[in-house]
Amino acid sequence: MTPARKQRLILVLMVLAGVAAAVTVGTFAFRENLAYFMTPSDIAANAPPQGTQIRLGGLVEPGTVRRESGSVEVSFMVTDGATELEVRFDQVLPDLFGEGKGVVAVGSLDAAGIFRADEVLAKHDENYMPPEVAAALAQAHENATGTPVPDAEAGESEEGGT
């Protein structure tokens, strides 16, 4: 092998090693950083192991937002129309959080089956519903009534206005 060829080979091998290392690190960590989106019905049917990070989506059940008076701790029920699940959170709620509104809570189930949220995301503006929440509500509606919802806007109308 000529010196020039040898150098080129070393370069190519370096490149390959670099890419391989990056891909290894990337794929190794990828699985454990995936968070599945689930509705209360999904969790009732097939509860994820305690501590697994999930994204819980649905509507905040009206009349269920309860606070430890004078503290930031708060609990509320998230519903998809069929099933509901209790969520507890000890941080400041986002501006657009409200009863009857769409919400996504990121967190995991504890031993008592209560959802401990690390993060709560509310709709970005009043026109916007996270597509996954709209789809989940439509699905629950269909399961309950046996008729499909005409369009995803149906989730919006269940809010009872803002």
């Binding site: 370069l11 670099g18 990828f30 995936l34 989106f37 008076s69 930031v72 400041v92």
Partner: protein, 638 residues
């Protein structure tokens, strides 16, 4: 009348752009001098048409003309006038018009400064830009016309989204677009070179200041976005690996790689095919970003627009533009090979590693951003990729970059000796370890802090060496060298900022009533009072929070919770005391009973290094772009 005028000239711009494309590309092919001469004239006419359309829409906003649907949906008679203006690009239709306007601006600039290029080549570049204009004008006229009338007129407008009523966000989209769309020039140059079947260092030299200018604007745009998210949206977060953020960050990474690759092609005539491919990739990622944001395919806090027809159109446009360019590349790639060889230890190799790391980082972010879409499409469930993954991959790939960046400017082209490069570097290594250790000790950090701060200090210590060598010479260093040094110093500052701000920020959510206090990271926050205040189009509760360090009062913060009257949405205005070494941040949550409100209190050390570093990069890019050798106009072959 004015909206009709705007609508009319927008339609007029379409055939003008088509003619610009036709005369430029076909004219160059036929070698017709008159067609070539006509191309820049058509480009200017097209730009005038788009400008008049844009001004018409701006006029409709300033006069709050509620017979225009888009105005009625995004403005209100109580909206202060600067925000009426920024409301022009506050939603989908207007932001596309801004996109088209920026593209016209770049096109006119190319027409103006084309003197260094052969006429046929310049005409091809303008022709390709014309094709992109056609695509965007069609998109606007078919799916997103900003001039649609609303009859009968609305009595009052729905007002601009309160989140967008902010100076930072008023200028964030234009900057971002100048950057995004600016990469279309490098793209057009690459495609023109492929059509011609010839890549030489003349056009790479010509492409460099354009690419730099676009990159500078994108850098500033992303920085503004991050800053806005910090004080307006994110409750103190400054980067979320949100798909929309990724959409702007991917072209930035590809554009950064392109800048470095262009340097090799210009100086050494190597990496030709790779440079062409990067130019195509960078603009393609800009288009992909537009698609991701504007089609509403993403589950994202930023996705304001959701309309599948628009998504399909722009996806088709993306396929045609990227597919066309790549097909051309595949046909011509064989003719691009060549260039001069280089040894394993050389500046070329170091820049190759730079490009490799940036490209892999970009690909990883692309994968993480699109994976949830693929998974959803094949029915594998709704998944999201956690921000920690992006952070891990990004840090893993950029750490070696930080280690090597200092060697790049010191190394010789073609061949170098490792011994020569390493000689004397122990001085910088010592400085870096000492500075890193001091910072780690100060913040009581662990191994992560140590690695990050040592790397950041190492970058700062090493990248200044070439400039320091000019000191005893008593000569003014070339602007390009100063620019590069500043940009690389920015990388060092950025690394320090990210490390310390990510690992040592303190944040607590607490409930306080007037007179109560809370201590965090050695600062005492005292809630003085909460009282109502009245704004032009909102009502607010404002807190007064005094901050003490020991006995000394540092500042009084005034965070607000606003209710905008029209949309009735609550908005949080954080109270922030910015400093070089730390930011103090207080935001109001809501009343939680017993006279208390919830508050978010944060102390974020060295946060400003992140944006300061990014702005240094932009400043460096600006200096480099204005270097004399790019301004002379003549083309010298290397």
């Amino acid at each position: 009348m004015i909206p009709e005028l705007g609508h009319f000239v927008l339609w007029l711009a379409l055939p003008l752009a088509a003619a610009q494309a036709l005369f430029g590309i076909v004219g160059a092919h036929r070698g017709s001098a008159s067609w070539l001469a006509l191309t820049p004239v058509l480009a200017r006419a097209q730009a005038w048409a788009v400008l008049i359309a844009f001004l018409s829409l701006a006029y409709a906003f300033l006069t709050v003309d509620f017979t225009v649907l888009y105005v009625a949906a995004n403005a209100n008679s109580q909206l202060p006038w600067p925000y009426r203006l920024s409301a022009v690009w506050g939603a989908h239709e207007g932001s596309l018009l801004l996109w088209a306007l920026v593209l016209s601006g770049w096109t006119v600039a190319v027409a103006r400064f084309r003197s260094g290029l052969p006429d046929a080549f310049a005409a091809r570049v303008l022709g390709v830009l014309g094709l992109i204009s056609v695509g965007f004008l069609l998109f606007m006229l078919m799916t997103s016309n900003p001039f649609t009338r609303l009859l009968p007129a609305a009595v009052e407008g729905r007002d601009l989204n309160p989140l967008l009523q902010d100076p930072g966000l008023a200028i964030h989209p234009p900057m971002l677009y100048v950057g995004y769309v600016g990469f279309s020039v490098a793209f057009a140059i690459a495609v023109a070179a492929l059509i011609e079947g010839r890549v030489d260092s003349a056009w790479t030299r010509w492409a460099r200041p354009w690419t730099l200018a676009a990159w500078v604007a994108l850098t500033v745009g992303i920085t503004l976005g991050s800053w806005w998210a910090y004080y307006e949206l994110g409750w103190g977060g400054w980067w979320f690996w949100d798909p929309v953020e990724n959409a702007s960050f991917m072209p930035w990474l590809a554009g950064t790689a392109l800048l470095h690759s262009l340097a090799v092609t210009e100086q050494r005539d190597a990496f030709r095919a790779w440079t062409i491919l990067l130019a195509i990739a960078t603009f393609s990622l800009s288009l992909l970003g537009t698609f991701l944001v504007r089609s509403g395919v993403l589950i994202s806090v930023h996705a304001f627009a959701t309309d599948p027809a628009r998504g399909l159109f722009i996806l088709a446009f993306l396929v045609v533009a990227v597919g066309g360019a790549l097909t051309l590349y595949a046909i011509r790639a064989g003719t691009l090979a060549g260039g001069s060889g280089f040894a394993l230890m050389s500046r070329e190799t170091l820049l190759l590693i730079n490009n490799l790391l940036l490209a892999v980082a970009c690909a990883a972010i692309l994968w993480g951003t699109l994976y949830p879409l693929f998974a959803d499409a094949v029915g594998a469930g709704k998944i999201s990729v956690g921000p920690p993954w992006f952070g891990l991959v990004f840090v893993t790939l950029t750490a070696p970059l930080a280690l090597l960046v200092g060697f790049g400017p010191l190394s010789h082209w073609k061949r170098d000796e490792p011994r020569r490069l390493l000689e004397g570097r122990w001085v910088q290594a010592l400085i870096a370890v000492a500075a890193g250790a001091a910072l780690t000790w100060h913040y009581d950090g662990g191994i992560g802090t140590l690695i990050g701060t040592v790397l950041g200090s190492w970058v700062i210590a090493t990248v200044t060496i070439p400039l320091a060598r000019y000191l005893p010479l008593r000569r003014v260093p070339p602007r390009q060298l100063v620019g590069m040094t500043l940009a690389h110093l920015g990388v060092g500052a950025f690394a320090l900022g990210i490390t310390v701000a990510s690992l040592h920020s303190e944040h607590r959510d607490v409930a306080l009533r007037a007179g109560e206090r809370y201590e965090l990271s050695g600062y005492i926050f005292v809630l003085e009072s909460i009282r109502p205040v009245q704004g032009p189009n909102y009502q607010a509760q404002e807190s007064s929070v005094q901050v003490f360090a020991g006995e000394d009062m540092i500042t009084t913060l005034h965070p607000q919770k606003r209710i905008y009257l029209v949309q009735q949405n609550p908005m949080t205005e954080a109270g922030i005391d910015a400093g070089i070494t730390r930011d103090l941040f207080v935001a109001m949550g809501e009343p939680v009973g017993e006279g208390r409100w919830s508050f978010r209190i944060q102390v974020k050390p060295m946060l400003r290094f992140i944006w300061g570093g990014a702005l240094l990069m932009a400043l460096g890019g600006l200096l480099a772009a204005s270097d004399r050798r790019y301004r002379r106009g003549e083309v010298v072959s290397a």
